[in-house]
């Protein structure tokens, strides 16, 4: 099966996995923090924050990509600052593809975590408090384990979204083979050239397999976690 892929196709697959992996991993702490604030916080601007987080879900992806370009392009103040201070460049790099994927997947990540946070029995957190756990320890030892299924579900959704992200990515970081040409961009390129159908089909098959594997994996994981906390004895 692997022999069937050309080196360029293979590169696109690897790049997509790398982009989606980093997009998910870096989004995660922010996602948990924002979900926590949205689920528990009562403050002015709550609705506004909620709106901003969900914006990429509703905006045309091209708009999101263009906004990213305006914000993080090399000649913008933010882009220049990041390059000079941290040496991070987003424009036309794979890191930019990861940023675009992360931004597009963020609402899905936050939504899943927020829902599970709202389902947590806060009386358990009170109980942990009376047993001597400070708020930070309560979060780490009670809240976090209880929302683990939601975190896993959110990560899977974010990963899948980042892998499949096309519009924002191509607008922000273009379609450079080996650097920013992810699976969807590669498929798009194949469909634009004569005789590219076979390549497009092969990559489409890969996309389906990876997405299915992610979904099944998350289902299995969620079920295992659920069983651990359910009403059955262990062993």
């Amino acid at each position: 099966m692997f022999d069937a892929l050309s080196p360029e196709e293979w590169t696109a697959v690897r790049l997509s996995l790398r982009v989606a992996f980093w997009a998910t991993l870096v989004s995660l702490p922010f996602g948990i923090a924002v979900a926590y604030v949205l689920a528990r916080g009562r403050f002015w601007g709550h609705a506004l924050l909620n709106g901003i987080v969900h914006l990429p879900l509703i905006l045309p992806p091209v708009v999101t990509g263009y906004v990213l370009l305006l914000l993080f392009g090399r000649r913008t103040p933010v882009g220049a600052f990041l390059e000079e201070t941290f040496g991070i460049v987003f424009a036309f790099r794979w890191t930019g593809a990861a940023l675009a994927g992360g931004i597009m997947g963020f609402p899905l990540l936050v939504r899943a975590i927020r829902l599970s946070l709202e389902a947590v029995d806060r009386r358990l957190e009170d109980a942990a408090g009376t047993l001597g756990a400070s708020p930070a320890w309560v979060f780490l030892t009670v809240t976090l384990p209880l929302i683990l299924p939601g975190i896993v579900a959110g990560m899977i959704l974010c990963f899948a979204k980042a892998m499949g992200e096309f519009g924002a990515t191509i607008t922000f970081v273009s379609n450079i083979p080996g650097e920013t040409q992810t699976l969807p961009s590669a498929i798009y390129t194949f469909t634009q050239v004569p005789g590219g159908d076979a390549g497009a089909l092969r990559l489409t098959a890969i996309s389906v397999v990876v997405s299915m594997a992610a979904l099944l994996g998350s289902e299995l994981l969620a079920r295992r976690i659920g069983r651990r906390m359910s009403h059955e004895a262990v062993g």
């Binding site: 029995d121 009386r123 358990l124 009170d126 109980a127 942990a128 408090g129 009376t130 047993l131 001597g132 756990a133 400070s134 708020p135 320890w137 309560v138 030892t141 009670v142 384990p145 209880l146 651990r228 906390m229 359910s230 009403h231 059955e232 004895a233 262990v234 062993g235």
Partner: protein, 377 residues
């Protein structure tokens, strides 16, 4: 231990205005649903910040709104056993038990896992998950978990309320042992006269957000004016007695109390054991002459001291039987027919089978106060 509380707090349309002090080993907060019992323990535990007032344990303020003191719940060292257990579903029983211990500084730990497991019979449960436990087992684990945080005060909020009668009888002895063995001062919330009578050393009667009365268990249960709060059906005098002897032929147990000898169906307590007996007022008949030819085995002579305030056709009578208070609940018609009035000599008649194991409290063991300071202080 001394617990002193003086708080005012509004919860929606409900106002809590409670002041009491207790030196008791097991202080019962007693009252009907909605009297404010749970809100009060939540204030002691630090789950609710009162609008105004003070809560002190052994002289140390946990809350003092005037002085701007509010010790957060995780620094109070106040153990809390909730009505519904609230065990952590993602942890094993063992990890649940050890949860609070982990946050307790080593120097303040006085309870070990082995002790708690032994006290509460938790050995077979350790490797199970909370979800697989029965209601009674959950509550025992919840008690153990609170205990292992080595608290200086333990709050039990109706720990038996969600259990059926059989489970209650299973847990009550454990709570008695908790009171007598661990020496941790306990605040016990209940609306059950039977539980309070059996367990409490001090009773705080709560009604509509106020402390209607505070005092020793026998004293509070013997007060006619508190009947509306304690609940007429279950109310009755509490008698401290001693097991005098068992009669093998008749299968009866003889109890000795200041009023005389009480006979009841056999219980397996050793002669000499101190017991606490609740005699429900509605189980007591009154006679003005010593009755004869009766099947009832207990006839105690005494004097009428008080006839309760008007409440329809029923009257509550307080008798003094050799220094022991006894309560009777009879019709007002009978009061008139017998010519009962304060000072009238009368006989109280109680069927032996009105006294059963359920009306007995386990022996309240005394211990040295110095001992307590050394262990808990």
């Amino acid at each position: 231990m001394s617990l002193s509380l003086d708080i005012r707090h509004r919860l929606g349309g409900f106002a809590l205005d409670v002041r009491f002090e207790s030196e008791g080993r097991l202080t019962a907060l007693f009252g009907r649903s909605g009297a404010g019992k749970t809100s009060l323990v939540n204030i002691i535990a630090g789950l609710i910040r009162p609008d105004e007032g003070r809560v002190t344990v052994d002289g140390e303020a946990l809350v003092d709104t005037a002085a701007g003191i509010f010790v957060p719940k995780h620094r109070r060292r106040v153990g809390y056993v909730f009505q519904e257990g609230r065990l952590f579903p993602h942890l094993s029983v063992r990890a649940n038990l050890l949860y609070g211990r982990w946050f307790t500084p080593a120097a303040q730990r006085y309870e070990t896992l082995d002790q708690a497991v032994e006290l509460l019979g938790l050995g077979p449960l350790l490797d199970r998950r909370p979800g697989s436990l029965s209601g009674g087992e959950k509550q025992r684990v919840a008690i153990g978990r609170a205990l292992l945080a080595s608290p200086r005060l333990l709050l039990l909020d109706e720990p038996l309320a969600s259990l059926d009668e059989a489970r209650r009888q299973e847990i009550l002895p454990y709570i008695e042992r908790l009171r007598d063995v661990t020496k941790i001062p306990i605040v016990y919330v209940s609306h059950s006269v039977a539980e309070v009578t059996r367990l409490a050393t001090t009773v705080v009667v709560l009604s509509h957000g106020k402390a209607a009365a505070v005092g020793g268990t026998a004293e509070i249960m013997g007060r006619l004016d508190l009947f509306p709060f304690t609940g007429r059906g279950e109310a009755g005098a509490v008698i401290e007695a001693q097991v005098a002897a068992h009669d093998a032929a008749s299968g009866l147990t003889m109890l000795e109390c200041p009023a005389g000898i009480l006979r009841m169906p056999h219980t397996d307590l050793a002669p000499g054991s101190a017991v606490r007996v609740r005699i429900r007022a509605r189980d007591v008949l009154l006679a003005v002459k010593k009755p004869e030819g009766l099947s009832a085995l207990n006839v105690l002579g005494g004097v009428v001291r008080e006839i309760g305030a008007e409440s329809g056709p029923i009257a509550e009578i307080r008798l003094d039987c050799g220094g022991q208070t006894l309560l009777a609940r009879i019709t007002r018609h009978s009061v008139a027919a017998l010519g009962l009035a304060p000072g009238t000599p009368a006989y109280a008649v109680i069927k032996a089978i009105a006294l059963d194991r359920r009306s007995l409290g386990g022996p309240l063991q005394e211990f040295d106060a110095a001992d307590l300071d050394a262990d808990v202080g």
